[in-house]
């Protein structure tokens, strides 16, 4: 038992009945139930008590009047005490008092004859007959209470205390007045006493009458007693009872029928009243058929709320029936949820319905899992479809190889390679299915699916998403760049093993297909980027893109190199004249455009990194690859040109071969002088176009290498040119030299014989000059810039031959020597003329070889005539 409650504070300490009082103190019990009594000013206020804490109770004061204790009684502490008191007072409702109650003021405001009524009804007469008007100053009630505890001044009260009354009402009345009052009171008491007797006197007649009546009544009762015995009402009771049974018998039948009718009516009424419930199963069926699930759920929920707790058997049965239908519906919906493809909205709707149906296992999650399965399935299906498709076509192709004549048109008409269409379809499927999965998951975790999201499943979902993305990227890798897949991985087989790129496939230009594939994957990536996917998932695609791009670049460059190597077959030997250079064929231009186009394509598709892609420029190995490939590309031209020089060994017409060699030379030179240097600039501008900020980086990593590649290509080209030059010279010089000796000794000519002096040089000399002029013309026609180089070699060869021939002469006759020196002079003058067109240093070189031949000739005797001869020749 706890301590008794004690009240130590009250707020406010006074007020009219109904005042909200806050009571404070100690030990107010352990809770609202602990309080079993609250008394304010002797009136029970427990009903209004509001337990706040063991120190505070809020209650409304009762009708108690004047100052009184506040007593709290608790179960645990018993009856309590108080140190403060509450004073209740009744407010007099007057004309000036604010009140929420309408006060009938007619008797207060009334005038004239009504006035007389007012005092008696409103104010009690003073028992002393004294006027109360002079009692202006009221005696404080508290002091009265202190003076006269346990009593009060109310006239009707048991504890009436005259002293209180006098102090309260007449404490300022004079003693004489009080005495007069006393006598007035005495007089009134006397008057009342006298009044009783006079009352009887005035009504004597009626009193006697009443007495007579009472006597008569007594007589009758005594008579009846003797007549019926002591129990006068027994027979009466009997007859009343028999009458009652008789009446009961009469109405029994009617009542029974009435009961039956009532029962039927009741049943009908219930059926009518609970029509909703009884129709529920059929309504549910109807709505399920109409697929109006919202209505079904609504109806069911309503029925459950209304009758879920019912004890009535009929209702229970109907509810069970309805429940069975709801269960069926739930199963049906769950099945439907697992059916694909379905739109996101539809799925959300079904999930909401299922949630409303209180489906036990998280339907939203089931749906996500199902969608995930569906996703991966669809991707694998796509792969299988194309793998199967490609397999028989492969078989057919091998058939075609066996029977080349048949169906060759069919395979060539199939322009789009299988795996490219596969990629496109895979991409289509992925972009249609995967965002749904993702959105569904997002909606699930955002709580939009009407279920509380299980945050533990977030990881699992993330894994699913990653899984799907990985499958997608692996499938693409398997199809396009199988070398990037881990061959040893146990899952390798499930992504499909495609045949290596077949010849037909590469014939169509794998590079351009790669560009297409790359674009497809890129659009897919861009779409994924808008989805706000986890970083890992995006990274998977980004890596795929990176590999694809590298591969694309590689294949594009390799293919171009291949194309260029095969350029030779496209040569048509049509001449084009270039102002600054001379004549060339189309090859250099084709080469240039191909290289530029290829690089342009590479730049556009591969290097231009789009949103959130790796920058290939920053990858050292990629740059290395690029360098090697560019070098290969450039080499291929040299190779092509060289092949051209060597390929037509079997050509019958020599002149065309010479021509071709010459053109090849010209091409080489043009490429070297004009195209390669421009490449350096173009390559850089092409590749660096979008990477100006990377220039430093590029310089550090790859730029020197690239120029080295060009340099290497240049070296190779120079070598090729050299070889071509050799070949050309061989073609040209051989016959030229070959005819010198027969021509010199034609007609059994002998240098030692005396020859008749003529004013002309010998025909062999003329022939040499003519031939040299022919070569000069041929070369100059194609490329003037080649003239000095070729002629220099030709002249050297001729001079060497002449030197050889003269050294073989045993003896010169005088005239022979004269003739020989004239010939040599003529030749050197002719070459001097040729050399004049070129620069002066060359002139020196030209004159030297002939001097060797001239040395072989004995000194002349008559130099005058020679001068003459020379002039003649030159004029000629």
């Amino acid at each position: 038992m706890g301590l008794p409650p004690i009240v130590t504070g009250v707020s406010p300490k006074e007020g009219p009945p109904g005042t909200r009082v806050t009571i404070r103190g100690e030990n107010f019990g352990s809770g609202p139930d602990d309080i079993i009594g609250l008394i304010i000013c002797n009136s029970d206020c427990l009903l209004s008590a509001e337990w706040v804490s063991s120190n505070k109770i809020v209650a409304r004061s009762g009708p108690g009047k004047s100052k009184g204790d506040i007593v709290i009684i608790t179960k645990s502490g018993g009856k309590g005490s108080c140190t403060v008191q509450f004073r209740g007072y009744h407010e007099t409702i007057g004309p000036l008092k604010e009140s929420a109650v309408w006060v009938d003021e007619s008797h207060l405001t009334g005038l004239g004859r009504h006035r007389a009524l007012i005092p008696s009804s409103y104010q009690q007469d003073d028992p002393l007959g004294l006027s109360v008007e002079n009692a202006v100053k009221k005696y404080p009630e508290e002091e009265l209470q202190e003076l006269f505890p346990e009593s009060n001044g109310e006239l009707g009260s048991e504890n009436f205390s005259p002293s209180w009354f006098l102090l309260q009402h007449h404490h300022s009345t004079g003693f004489d007045d009080l005495k007069a009052g006393l006598s007035f009171l005495k007089r009134r008491v006397e008057a009342q006493k006298e009044g009783q007797i006079s009352f009887l006197k005035t009504h004597a007649g009626s009193v006697i009458e009443q007495m007579d009546t009472l006597m008569t009544l007594k007589k009758v009762v005594e008579e009846n007693k003797t007549k019926y015995g002591p129990d006068m009402t027994a027979s009466l009771e009997n007859s009343i009872l028999s009458a009652k049974t008789e009446a009961g018998r009469l109405f029994d039948d009617v009542l029974k029928r009435k009961e039956q009718a009532d029962g039927t009516r009741n049943a009908l009424g219930i059926l009518q009243r609970f029509r909703f419930l009884f129709h529920l199963p059929s309504t549910l069926d109807k709505n399920i058929q109409k697929a109006d699930y919202d209505l079904v759920i609504n109806d069911y929920a309503r029925a459950n709320a209304l009758f879920g707790q019912t004890e009535v058997q009929v209702f229970k049965r109907v509810l069970q029936e309805a429940e069975q239908r709801i269960l069926n519906l739930r199963e049906m919906l769950q099945e439907k949820l697992q059916q694909y493809p379905a739109s996101l909205e539809e799925q959300k709707k079904i999930i909401r319905n299922l949630t409303n149906l209180e489906c036990p296992n998280d339907p939203a999650w089931l749906c996500i899992a199902g969608q995930y399965k569906h996703c991966s399935q669809i991707l694998f299906q796509c792969k299988d479809k194309y793998l199967i498709k490609s397999a028989p076509s492969k078989g057919k192709r091998s058939n075609n190889l066996l029977l080349p004549s048949s169906n060759s048109a069919e395979s060539s008409s199939n322009t789009t390679p299988g795996r490219v269409t596969f990629l496109e379809e895979l991409n289509d499927r992925f972009t249609s299915v995967f965002p749904e999965l993702w959105k569904l998951g997002q909606a699930y975790f955002a709580g939009e699916l009407f279920v509380r999201a299980d945050t533990l499943k977030k990881e699992e979902f993330k894994k699913m998403v990653l899984d799907v993305v990985t499958i997608f990227s692996q499938l693409i890798r398997a199809a396009l760049i199988p070398h990037t897949l881990d061959r040893q991985s146990p899952h390798r087989a499930q992504f499909g093993i495609w045949q290596a790129f077949s010849g037909i496939f590469s014939d169509h230009g794998i590079g351009s297909w790669f560009v297409l594939c790359l674009r497809t994957v890129r659009t897919c990536y861009a779409e994924l980027l808008t989805l706000d996917l986890p970083v890992e998932a995006l990274d998977a695609i980004r890596d795929l893109l990176h590999d694809l791009r590298v591969h694309c670049m590689r294949s594009l460059l390799m293919q171009t190199a291949e194309n260029i190597t095969h350029l030779a077959s496209q040569e048509n030997w049509k001449l084009e004249f270039i102002e600054s250079h001379g004549s060339i064929t189309q090859l250099p231009h084709i080469f240039e455009t191909q290289v530029i186009e290829c690089l342009q394509l590479v730049k556009e598709t591969v290097f231009q990194s789009e949103q959130r892609e790796t920058n290939l420029m920053e990858n050292a190995s990629v740059l290395n690859d690029l360098n090697i490939l560019v070098q290969k590309l450039l080499f291929s031209f040299a190779r092509s040109t060289e092949r051209l020089a060597s390929s037509d060994q079997d050509h019958s017409e020599d002149s065309t071969r010479e021509m071709k060699l010459l053109l090849g030379l010209s091409n080489c030179q043009y490429t070297m002088l004009h195209i390669l240097p421009s490449f350096k600039v173009k390559l850089l501008t092409t590749i660096l176009f979008n990477f100006s900020r990377l220039k430093e980086h590029w310089n550090k990593l790859g730029y020197p290498d690239l120029s080295a590649a060009i340099q290497a290509a240049r070296d190779l080209l120079e070598k090729t040119e050299e070889r071509l030059m050799e070949a050309y010279l061989e073609e040209k010089v051989e016959p030229l030299i070959g005819i010198v000796e027969p021509s010199m000794y034609a007609g059994r000519f002998d240098w030692n014989k005396n020859i008749p002096i003529t004013d002309d040089i010998r025909p062999y000399c003329k022939e040499i000059i003519m031939n040299m002029i022919a070569v000069h013309a041929e070369v100059a026609q194609v490329s003037p810039s080649l003239v000095p180089r070729i002629l220099e070699r030709v002249v050297q060869e001729v001079a060497a031959e002449l030197g050889r021939l003269f050294s073989c002469v045993n003896k010169f006759s005088d005239s022979g020597a004269l003739q020989a020196s004239a010939d040599i002079s003529a030749l050197s003058r002719a070459c001097f003329n040729v050399g004049k067109n070129s620069n002066k240093t060359r002139l020196q070189q030209f004159s030297n070889p002939f001097s060797e031949a001239a040395d072989m000739i004995p000194p002349l005797t008559t130099p005058d005539s020679i001068e003459y001869d020379f002039k003649d020749v030159i004029d000629h």
Binding site: T8, S81, T83, V84, E150, H171
Partner: protein, 201 residues
């Protein structure tokens, strides 16, 4: 109802009255002293009564606190309350200059009602925890207290700073005055008044 006999056995009662403008924290001080609780929400008081036993310098006494209304609406009924008070805590808020100015009026009203210059009276500056919003300087308040010849104490009903001090200081002052009174006119005080009333009868 407690009988008169039990009341007489109770320890001596010191009647304290809280005065001051509305919202300065009279009720907060009272409730903090009585029940160690700080009431955050403001609800204007009409007239609250509290009484409990406390140990004053080793002697058990009862403190009766009458928490009056600060609002002007109730100004007319103050006279009645003030008459029964033995000591006054005149409270103002250091964040409200008007409340400080009003103390002058309260002081005058109390002196008029009690008709005695020499009463137990303490000037209390409440809400001293809100120093950053102070509007009434310490000197200003101290000057006024000095002028009246009463102590000035700053309190915080929120942090309970000096709360007990103001009540106990006031009770000590009341006790010493009562002792002075009995010394100077031993026979007269209360019994005399009672006799007078009997004579009227």
């Amino acid at each position: 109802m407690a009988s008169k006999a039990t009341k007489a056995a109770q320890p001596v009662v010191h009647k304290v009255i809280m005065v001051g403008s509305g919202g300065v924290g009279k009720s907060a001080l009272t409730l903090q002293f009585m029940y160690d609780e700080f009431v955050e929400d403001y609800e204007p008081t009409k007239a609250d009564s509290y009484r409990k036993k406390v140990m004053l310098d080793g002697e058990e006494v009862q403190i009766d606190i009458l928490d009056t209304a600060g609002q002007e609406d109730y100004a007319a009924i103050r006279d009645n309350y003030f008459r029964s008070g033995e000591g006054f805590l005149c409270v103002f808020s250091i964040t409200d200059d008007d409340s400080f100015q009003a103390t002058q009026e309260f002081r005058e009203q109390i002196l008029r009602v009690k008709n005695d210059e020499n009463i137990s009276f303490l000037l209390v500056g409440n809400k001293c925890d809100l120093g950053e919003r102070r509007k009434v300087s310490l000197e200003e308040a101290q000057n006024r207290a000095q002028q009246w010849g009463v102590p000035y104490i700053e309190t915080s009903a929120k942090t309970r700073e000096h709360v007990d001090k103001v009540f106990f200081d006031l009770m000590r002052d009341i006790r010493s005055r009562k002792m002075d009174e009995t010394k100077t006119n031993p026979g007269k005080p209360k019994p005399a008044r009672k006799k007078l009333k009997c004579a009227i009868l």
